[in-house]
Subunit: 382 residues, 2 copies
Amino acid sequence: MLKKYLIAPGPTPVPEKVLLEMTKPVIHHRTSEFSATFEKVANGLKKVFSTEQDVLMLAGSGTAAMEAAVVNTLNPGDNVLVINAGKFGQRWRDICKTYGILVSTIDMDWGKAAKPEEIEQFLKANPDTKAVLLQGSETSTTVYHPVEEIAKVVRKNENTLLIVDGITSIGVHDTKFDEWGIDIAITGSQKAFMLPPGLSLICLSKKAWNFVEKSTIPRYYLDLRKELKSQKQATTAYTPALTLINGLAVVLEMFEEEGLENVYKRHAVNGEATRAAVKAMGFKLLAETPSNAATGFYLPEDIDGGKLVKFMREKVGITYAGGQDHLKGRIVRISHLGYHDAFDTITAISGLEMGLRKFGVDIKLGSGIAAAEEILQNYIGE
Amino acid sequence: MLKKYLIAPGPTPVPEKVLLEMTKPVIHHRTSEFSATFEKVANGLKKVFSTEQDVLMLAGSGTAAMEAAVVNTLNPGDNVLVINAGKFGQRWRDICKTYGILVSTIDMDWGKAAKPEEIEQFLKANPDTKAVLLQGSETSTTVYHPVEEIAKVVRKNENTLLIVDGITSIGVHDTKFDEWGIDIAITGSQKAFMLPPGLSLICLSKKAWNFVEKSTIPRYYLDLRKELKSQKQATTAYTPALTLINGLAVVLEMFEEEGLENVYKRHAVNGEATRAAVKAMGFKLLAETPSNAATGFYLPEDIDGGKLVKFMREKVGITYAGGQDHLKGRIVRISHLGYHDAFDTITAISGLEMGLRKFGVDIKLGSGIAAAEEILQNYIGE
């Protein structure tokens, strides 16, 4: 095979138009030329986050923004609740613990979604909880947590922030930051935003900015007060990831052209088609309430998923993701993120049909495709 | 849909590696740096043509090389035989007529292949025939003519040249220029050679070079005597299409890496899979002896192929080719040329399954794919 197909949940393929933008000669960042781009991007980001607040850009990957959320708003000894439903829930817990924050968790089987009523009960029993931290979409399990419903519960508590890792949900699922009452949302460049890794985004509500004033955790590079001050002037506190921001300007133009509602719809349709295909091939989905970022499914017990994923990547040219931690070797995850269209879904399914056969699984060729096409045909040519 | 898929028989997609090579700063062509590349390319081309002769590079599209073949070897009043089996057979006839050459044709229904015995009979009846001109692969009908068998017949005649338009056969079907006894073969950059259009290639046998000495047709830009003299010195008579030649150097490295036999096999497998898919979907192939460059098939009579092709290109993002002349609107042609792998075939078939449904054709979704995968799975992961 000749080509490489990147169908893992991040990093995701970057459109040619964006790559070309990023190959232009580097300009200096303290210039009116860059400030003009910065301002345009800052305005565009507000639309994606559905917010009037500033969306700050940080040179760092998503984890930097996760850490910024914690170190700017909390204090050692604070009580927080982490929804621990996968690999990235664990990351919230680990970051908080690093700073002496007292973490309670709601631990869920991987594949299960957070329950708003359970969070409500927890907050009633623990009214001093300073923050509830969770993922919008838990990439490790391909679960979508009901962020809107959880926000309804959390925002009843004046002294509790809702902190959402939206790394694989913002730009995928319509996320109404202001309307839903999210307090902090973060995301990264290498998922729905169709960019290389290296840029992260963070947005704070007014309530969260009030917490910032009271936080005593030492922070320098990730000090959001300095960033807010600078970014209100269309610049950054430290050297920005400027080619990524130039690329982001093009991405936001592409979003505008496609229409944000169509960006969400595209993820939804490719997600739906992939889930239908996987089920038609006889597999069980991992996620109870699936995210449109990626679809995870269980492999037959006698198949070594690690070997399958390696074979597909090295010999066939398709990069899927396998499972993490206790799901290592047990599942495959197929991304629908970012620069991914109907025929990427078809390639993903066709590769699976043929690849699984190679591994001795009794797959009826074309069965997954037929189910995917049954969905996709309704959107073809629209 | 987001992406564009170029699945017409030329121009064909250019690999990123080649595009990047061609975006390097332009250098001057009268330099040792360029001569080194030129020499490397010239040697590599001999392998693809399976020849000890020089393969000349011309800045011009394939038609320039077709014209060069005629004006360098023939004379006004010469008798030639043209295999007129499609759009490009007609082009040989038109070029010859432009220069006062007397053209006889064997006219074939589109979709039929030339018959060596018929050519043999013609040459027996017309021993003064100076040349037999045909296509290796007739792109308009997706037919492969039996070049090897025809060469056997023509080379019995000392005073007759076999002139082959290999624009969609060289690099697709193994073509042994010396061994088979072809006298002139030409091709273009934008097909199996995975380059943008603008460069053509031409190779002459010793016998053909003898004809060159006797040809009186005036020619300047396309004078192959001047080109041979220059190109033996690793330069060209006039300014070369130098970025394309730099790109060609990378293409030849890619051929080397894949192995020429695998390049042919890849075209054969994708051709076979596409033909199987089209037949499984209930359609009739156009070509009696199909080329591995492209697959043409008849649409149901009530389908306007022009509208279908336009819809697929403009609304779905897949560029197929339709029919030409009297087959306009009646057929679709799917390319397998150049930078095209198994999942491009899958995309082509899946697009058809869904697109034809949109046009009211009763297609069983997944049926074409299943037939294609049945073939492709044998080569997956090799």
